[in-house]
């Protein structure tokens, strides 16, 4: 009886020590969850999620206030990554424009009146210009968020799809007719 008690206590003590040691030794100096979520978001700062930018959305997700499927630019991959990180169920993207190609904003420089409204709208300062001067968009830095389109009083900003070039072309996954016999039935 006493022997058993001693043995059990000793066992508990040793386990406790081990656990305590492990907690110190293998401590994960992890980023706070907001940082991790923010790293997954595409940083277009487009506000399509209903939050004023990617970080506020990340904070809302971390606080459990927002669903993980509100970010159209992140696409299904983004939702999957968030689901993976947070251990939540992946959900279909909450948007109609699923397969939207990547877009860039382009200013029709003939019609630009230099009002600077778009400069103020751009979340990443990718528009170059000053009052009464023609504006232009730095293509490399444009995230395609479309926030500059609405403020333009003369409708001179257009979203154009990014053309595929040899340097951006990708091999696709092989398309294998898995069910060539009855494809219609499989789709139904």
């Amino acid at each position: 009886m006493i022997a058993a008690m001693i043995a059990l206590s000793a066992l508990a003590g040793v386990s406790g020590l081990l656990l305590g040691f492990a907690a110190i030794r293998f401590k994960v100096e992890g980023d706070p969850i907001v940082e991790k979520i923010d790293a997954i978001l595409p940083q277009t700062q487009c506000g399509q999620c209903g939050y004023p930018g990617c970080r506020p959305y990340a904070e809302a997700i971390a606080a459990g206030e927002a669903e993980i499927n509100l970010c159209p630019p992140g696409g299904p991959n983004g939702v999957a990554a968030l689901a993976d990180l947070l251990g939540r169920d992946p959900k279909p993207l909450n948007a109609e424009h699923l397969d939207k190609p990547k877009m860039l904003a382009v200013i029709d420089e003939q019609n630009c009146i230099g009002c600077t409204l778009c400069l103020q709208a751009c979340p990443v300062d990718a528009i170059l210009g000053a009052a009464k001067q023609m504006h232009t968009i730095i293509a490399r830095e444009c995230t395609g968020c479309e926030l500059c389109v609405a403020p333009c009083p003369v409708d001179c900003i257009h979203m154009v799809p990014v053309a595929e070039t040899i340097s951006t072309w990708k091999w696709t996954a092989p398309i294998i007719p898995i069910k060539p016999a009855i494809p219609a039935k499989a789709a139904a």
């Binding site: 595409p42 979340p123 990718a126 990708k170 996954a173």
Partner: protein, 503 residues
Amino acid sequence: MNALKRLFPFHGGLKTVRHKAESNQSPIQPGILPARLTVPLRQHIGAMAKPRVQPGDRVLKGQMIGQPEGYISAAIHAPTSGVVTAVESRPVPHPSGLPDLCVVIDSDGEERWMDRQPVDYRALHPSELRNVLRNAGIVGLGGAAFPSAVKLNLGGQSEWLETLILNGAECEPWITCDDRLMRERAAGIVAGLRVMAHLLEPREVLIGIEADKPEAIAAMTDACAGTGYEVRPIPTRYPSGSGKQLVKLLTGKETPVEGLPVDVGVQCFNVATAYTVHRAIDHGEPLISRVVTVTGHVRQPGNIEALLGTPFAQLVEQCGGYRDGVERLIMGGPMMGFALHSDEVPLTKAANCILAASAAELAPEQSVMPCIRCGACVEACPADLLPQQLYWHARAREFDKARDYHLFSCIECGCCSYVCPSHIPLVQYYRYAKNEIWAQEKEKEKAELARRRHQARLERLEREKQEREAKLRQKAPGKAPLTPGPSPTRGEGSPDPASSSNP
């Protein structure tokens, strides 16, 4: 004959069909001068050359029309004399079938050379000599088209070079351009090799040639007499001509994962590259032509020394045209080459072979079956990978896991697909996975840049707000500025885009 030297076989590989005899019986024929040449400005790995001519310009044969941009790049030259008619996007040989920037030259038929200056390579400083090669547009002609000047600069990567290897393996079926070049121009190859050896100062120089090319071995052995360079016949086993595998075969050294042969003190060049080095140094001729094998389902297969920019259709024409039933036009060999969309694309530096393939040359199309994990691919993989694991993960889009299984050690040699009894297009899955990973990394970089720029903007807005408030406080009934005027302060605090590639 050399005493049988020890070889260090690599794991896996294949005995494939050979089909060398179709095209290696007749000498290299000069290409017919085309009326119009389309010269792509991206014919090498690295940055596209910057065009130096405009439509309307007259150019001389060998004149530089594209200037190297950045360290990893190579110059592009006019293959003949004539008039530039366009600098625009044209179809180029690429698996995508997409167009790329090209200089279009209408030839005047006179072949007037620019001023050619042979160089005494011993008199030049190594960096000047490398510059000569860079400006001569010399790139690896084995297929990868990596700028040779970069590879000829050990610069800090290693203190000295143990072994310089010249790759004459030509392990892919059908291709014979290196075979013919070695038979006919061994002296030129060795002259170029001498320049390379001068730059790299290796302790030994080895020339690896597959044993099924006895004539080439004999010619190269003769040409190497008295130089100390050693010709080493190697077993006929695909992919012995792949850089890392050849290095292992000849020296026993394994190139580290994600490293280069130079990390183990070895550098490797193609025989045709050595020949172009010789032309550039001893004759002052930049790289404007190459030997290309035209074979398969054409009437008279053979090798042509053609000007870069010559349309594939014309090269096929020169070899008697297609025989009936050609289904696929392959640039490169049947194991690693890619199928072209059209034959109206120009010859590039990387094009070592044009293989017109009919059902007779190709494998019959097979239905894809499920993987039965038979392990044939594991046996065949020369990179010691587990191809089926890579396949499962690539197919499931688990790219991180594919990476853990060393996806990026895959050399896309095609051995796994070749032996697969289920006929799974394994290589395409790997290319797909690699491309997706690269694209994701680019996206990440872009997102990081956007994040930092957004951060900088928020800080700027905050700063401006405080400044405004401070001003308001100073002169109490003052006027606030109408616009925040972003541009003067734009960029302050925002990251330097050039350094943003470091996540």
